[in-house]
Amino acid sequence: MPTRLAVEIGKLKLSNPVMTASGTFGYAEEFQDFMELKKLGAIVTKTLTLKPRQGNAAPRTCETPAGMLNSIGLENPGLEIFIQDKLPFLKKIGIPIVMSIASEEEPEEFLELVSRINLIPEVAAVELNISCPNVRGKNSLIAQDAEATYQIVQEVRKRTDKVLITKLSPNVTSIGEIAESAEKAGSDAISLINTLGGMSIDVQQRKPKVSSGIAGLSGPAIRPVAVRMVWEVFNKVKIPVIGMGGITDVPSALEFIIAGATAVSVGTANFINPKISLAIVSGLKEYLVSNKIADIQELVGSLKI
């Protein structure tokens, strides 16, 4: 039986629904020894800002039960150096590249970034990271406020025809409400979840294990929260959802798709098994075959409840 894995995120066509999550796949070079990169659905870059950012002090990560905390602080080389040093490699892969961007001063930096990215034909889509908990000096995130989310998405939408993905934070009372704002403001898709705010303490030293104190929790530990939020958002909006949060294997990727994700992103699991995203691609295919499903889109949101 022929099975179809291809999916669409707005006008973006992916050969399969498996992407890599921002900040967990470097700029893809780091994974070339382990897989044929072009077999991925899409690659999302580490979040970029206009100017280079040094990020936070070490230690930046620690392990927690079935999860990890990170507080990288959006270290990145800035847009120019990215275009010079990192983009050429990404271009050559030949699959959709999603540029994740964040801004230190809204909305100006976002708009500046987008206007420059408009000029790069090889960038297929822009992911607005309005949910990164690791930018120092801020008390709340854009993605924690429906109105602020609406504003920024709308401003960016006006300035670009590229596929626009808004990445949401799970650290909110009602994820559906924020997703609705992003949809109304013209986002083509919603991606979620970014990390959950967390903290871990070294009790001998009585100091946080990650230098910034509060950091972002990811990995299998947060999967049930992520699946629940994908389900909530799927039931609230009509635009496609890109699901992530603790995907480590084929069943966990399927959980997100069944809960309503059109595509999924593999994050922390890349650190544990750098080949896992492609293993998930093949596993999804096998699932379709053995369950006699012709098109993966039939699975999206197929939860019986």
Binding site: G23, F34, Q54, R60, T61, I72, N273, P274, K275
Partner: protein, 259 residues
């Protein structure tokens, strides 16, 4: 340098003493390509606890085998120590840059290796590869029982001096103080110092290298979440900005580092 992910069979697994274990793995591709100072990243369990891989230095290479030498300090190393000969381990390597040597003139000069605690692990491999030169190894530990690899270094033809914090063997004090004494007495003027051990020890070695205008290569540790340069978790400050210990390191020239 290409990295490999492979399922390596445990060829031997032995407790050396206390919590110290020695293990040999069948890993032809890694053995062939490994340089001293590089490491492998090990997944000790297919459950989610522990979740992340754990980095261990390559302690030696023999044919298609690689050796690791580790101390049981927590969850993952405990699980590792329970594994038996014949079991398979999911490893990635050889990772990191390794020590720079051989291609330079220093090859035929005198070298000094300074190891604190488990710092002996990568330095033993280095000593084997440096064999043709005169090597002085300084090994430090808190106490006599924790001195590691003394005989191995001797068998590799090195001169060995030891330091213990409590004076139970050799020089009483830190191994960096022993280095200082050595350099002061001009007994031994190396062309390069290679060091691995606790951060404070490395800092002291770097200061001394600076004082005596010697080149020093230091192998650092940071908490690693990926080991392959992807997470940006393991950075260290250098004069050229933040660098990843797992990728641009773990070995850094002392003069590069901004402590």
């Amino acid at each position: 340098m290409k990295n490999f992910q492979l399922s390596a069979k445990i060829l031997s697994q032995k407790k050396i003493k206390g919590n110290y274990w020695h293990c040999e793995l069948a890993a032809p591709l890694i053995a062939k390509n490994a340089c001293p100072g590089q490491f492998i990243n090990i997944r000790v369990s297919d459950t989610y606890d522990p979740l992340l891989r754990r980095p261990l230095s390559i302690h030696g290479v023999k044919g298609t085998k690689i050796k690791i030498f580790y101390k049981v300090v927590g969850k993952a190393t405990e699980i590792l120590a329970r594994k038996k000969k014949g079991e398979l381990l999911d490893i990635i390597g050889p990772l990191g840059n390794g020590f720079a040597f051989g291609k330079r003139k220093t090859e035929n000069g005198k070298q000094i290796l300074v190891a604190g605690g488990m710092g002996v692990a990568p330095l033993m491999f280095l000593a084997e590869r440096l064999k043709k030169t005169t090597i002085q190894v300084l090994v430090g530990a808190r106490t006599r029982e924790e001195l590691l690899c003394i005989n191995d270094f001797k068998q590799a033809g090195c001169l060995v001096s030891v330091a213990t914090d409590d004076g139970s063997a050799g020089f009483q004090g830190r191994v960096s103080d022993l280095l200082k004494q050595l350099l002061q007495e001009a007994q031994f003027r190396p062309q390069t110092i290679y060091a691995c051990g606790p951060r404070l020890m490395l800092k002291a070695v770097a200061d001394m290298a600076n004082e005596y205008a010697l080149a020093a290569q230091l192998s650092l540790e940071e908490h690693m979440s990926c080991g392959i340069g992807a997470c940006l978790g393991c950075v260290v400050k250098t004069k050229g900005g933040l660098k990843r210990v797992c990728k641009e390191g773990p070995v850094f020239a002392a003069k590069e580092l901004a402590w």
